[in-house]
Chain length 117, copies 2
Amino acid sequence: MKNFSKTSVVESRRVELHDKLSLTGAEVSINTLEAGTGIPFTHYHKKNEEIYGIIAGKGKVIIDDETVELTSGDWLRIAPSAKRQFFAANDSPISYICIQVKENSLEEYTENDGVMV
Amino acid sequence: MKNFSKTSVVESRRVELHDKLSLTGAEVSINTLEAGTGIPFTHYHKKNEEIYGIIAGKGKVIIDDETVELTSGDWLRIAPSAKRQFFAANDSPISYICIQVKENSLEEYTENDGVMV
């Protein structure tokens, strides 16, 4: 496999990076919801942990009937079985990154996996 | 394990989310390099693919002696064995997300792992 791949993401409703970058350990998407809108369904996962980072705007997510307010700079881990649904605020869009990874798949990391040369 | 965890990231040289969010499938860090500075070493990984997303500013990364210019909106996959070193531009800081995941750990994803309810 190539040593690296690169793409440039322009603002869009949803951009998925797995195929664009030939990812093998995650799917990463960059998403924007317009003010007053939301994902039209609730979902959970069979095997994948999701990590969400809010990069602009504000909104909320309902997780198993709990409402969590969201603003730029917030990051969340959501367990596979938790039911989730994201919404923009009524007066603001929201842009967020969603990272899907297989739960419990990470072994060593940072100084225990990285090697300085 | 809890159904979700949340943290708020304020601008900083580096914030690591693995322990803050009890992540099990990735380490995610949010990093800022000041204008004219860079990571002071080159590194590679034993097992982990890295996915980088530039969230603000500009700079460059040197990957196996190839220089790749970076600006907000750029995303990269870097293979574990590739040697990498990141730098801010001389006239701009750069802020980026780094996602570490075990190479080849992702199985099904999105509509093949997610279940609508």
